[in-house]
């Protein structure tokens, strides 16, 4: 009856092993078939984004000297800074530390992140606090009175 207790049970054990592999393998395949769609579902699909290369940021006359504004660049915020001399600079407004949105601080003459006190100078260089990298720079083009921002090539 019990093949394992028989000394000559070799063929039966082979059959048992065979069944073990078939059933075990079947179980694994079944698990994969169930789990794969679930895990694939968790991954958000890529949304079709309109590739933005340039945005209008407003009129030169409307932006005060020694100030900064956040401009919407596609779905990313960009900070447009006009220094005391009247020159424009634009940087990604996303702090390189932990993803907060930076702001221009008149009193410090710096770009500052409120979340963890990170500081960047007006060239976008990280000068104090935890930010590990400078802010990415954008190109500012002035045509007549119109300020526009575009990605650096």
């Amino acid at each position: 009856m019990n093949s394992e207790s028989m000394p000559t049970g070799q063929p039966d054990n082979d059959r048992r092993d065979f069944l073990k592999y078939v059933l075990g393998g079947g179980l694994l395949a079944w698990l994969a078939a169930v789990l794969y769609p679930v895990f694939a579902y968790l991954k958000p699909p890529k949304q079709a984004e309109v590739e933005v290369t340039s945005v209008k940021a407003g009129k030169v006359s409307a932006i005060e000297k020694d100030s900064g504004v956040i401009v919407r660049f596609g779905n990313k915020p960009v900070i447009l800074v006009r220094n005391a001399a009247g020159e424009f600079r634009a940087f990604s407004a996303t702090c390189t530390h932990l993803d907060c949105t930076v702001q221009y601080r008149k009193d410090m003459g710096l770009i500052w992140c409120a979340c963890h006190n990170g500081r960047y100078d007006l060239n976008g260089r990280n000068v104090a606090g935890p930010p590990p990298r400078p802010l990415d720079e954008y190109r500012v083009v002035i045509q007549g009175d119109e300020v526009s921002i575009s990605k650096k090539a």
Binding site: L42, K43, P44, Q47, I70, R72, N75, P77, A93, C95, H97, L98, D99, C100, T101, V102, Q103, C113, A114, C115, H116, N117, N126, G129, P130, P131, P132, R133
Partner: protein
């Protein structure tokens, strides 16, 4: 003439034999010693959890998820729905008190070494519930979709993203995309009202079952006292009534807090606004937040934030597994190292929380 109650009891008893259960409960005793006060903090945490479930369900009746709806629906709850302000305020305050009482419960268990053999599983399930509570706090914080919550979520999920290798996919999974958007709000809503409560309830069931099965832990110093000389009190009704009295006090405290210090809603989140000055997370994340401020961008070859996460992660893991490396306590010997370790952690958390609060 039998009362309706006893008739009902007999009806059930005849079918499911309640007798043994009642006998078991009647024999339940709680040890009485100078540390007994700490026993109440587990019970009160359970009470606060129940309040969260009830008020959470009530909020669900009016809350709407989505970038365009979430903030407005909370405004609606607080201004139009009768007692909506109260329910929302109670839910927010209870969340904070819940974490506080659970922390007190956790530290008291830690310093009493009540996690020692045979209560390792109780400790681990308790700690897992504590981590889930932080998840509840973090996910629930975003649901009103206000400015502070928006940036808190950006920072929190970006921290997860800084973990090498697995970080990025985890961040995308949490955010429902590369950025914090309405998709994040939908996911957090799901975590907050379905995923976390489901897992939490299972852990809570195990935790409570173990407490019933093993009884309350006694201080190590009492283990040498003969059983006949140990003071106890019956759970029913002596301890339970004291428990309920404490619950009542906490409920009153909650009412006072919710009425006199209503929870603010703040400004609606603007994905194209700067992070507001003075932004800080909830008090229970403050010590980690403050630490992140002090870590420089680069330490040797490592990213500062990655190093910070590694240290906190390792600390949390050590804490979770303390019953398994504190062998001395399980043998009933005093272990000073554990005390120093615990005191260091408490002081560190207190100091950085206070500094974070002041600055």
């Amino acid at each position: 003439m039998k009362t309706l109650g006893s008739k009902l009891y007999d009806w059930v008893d005849e079918r499911v034999k309640l007798g043994t259960l009642v006998e078991y409960m009647g024999k339940k005793y709680v040890p009485v010693n100078r540390h007994s006060i700490w026993y109440y903090f587990g019970g009160v945490s359970l009470f606060l959890f129940i309040i969260q479930v009830v008020t959470g369900i009530l909020l669900l009746l009016y809350y709407k998820g989505g970038e365009q709806l979430a903030f407005e629906s909370i405004q609606f709850i607080m201004s139009k729905v009768q007692f909506g302000w109260l329910i929302r305020s109670i839910h927010s305050w209870t969340a904070n008190l819940f974490i506080l009482t659970a922390m007190i419960h956790m530290f008291s268990v830690f310093f009493e070494k009540a996690y020692r053999k045979p209560r390792e599983i109780t400790w681990v399930t308790g700690m897992l519930m504590f981590f889930l509570m932080l998840g509840f706090g973090f996910s629930g914080y975003l649901l009103p979709w206000n400015e502070l919550a928006f940036f808190a979520t950006k920072v929190g999920t970006d921290i997860a993203g800084a973990v090498p290798v697995v970080g990025k996919p985890i961040m995308v999974f949490l955010r429902g995309g590369d950025d914090v958007t309405g998709a994040t709000l939908s996911r957090f809503f799901g975590f907050h009202v379905a995923v976390l409560p489901g897992i939490f309830t299972v852990l809570l069931g195990i935790h409570l079952l173990l407490v019933q099965r093993q009884g309350m832990s006694e201080p190590i110093s009492h283990e040498h006292v003969p059983a006949t000389e140990r003071k106890t009190m019956p759970f029913f009704p002596n301890f339970l009534l004291r428990d309920l009295l404490f619950w009542l006090v906490v409920l009153n405290l909650l009412a006072v807090l919710a009425v006199f210090f209503p929870w603010e809603l703040g400004k609606k989140a603007d994905p194209f606004g700067s992070a507001p000055a003075g932004i800080k997370p909830e008090w229970y994340f403050l010590f980690m937040f403050q630490t992140l401020k002090y870590i420089p961008g680069k330490i040797l070859f490592f990213d500062g934030e990655v190093l910070g996460i590694a240290v906190f992660g390792l600390g949390g893991l050590l804490w979770l597994l303390v019953p398994f490396w504190d062998r001395k306590s399980s043998r009933g010997e005093p272990n000073r190292l554990i005390n120093y370790f615990g005191i260091f952690i408490v002081l560190y958390i207190l100091a950085l929380t206070i500094v974070g609060w002041m600055l």
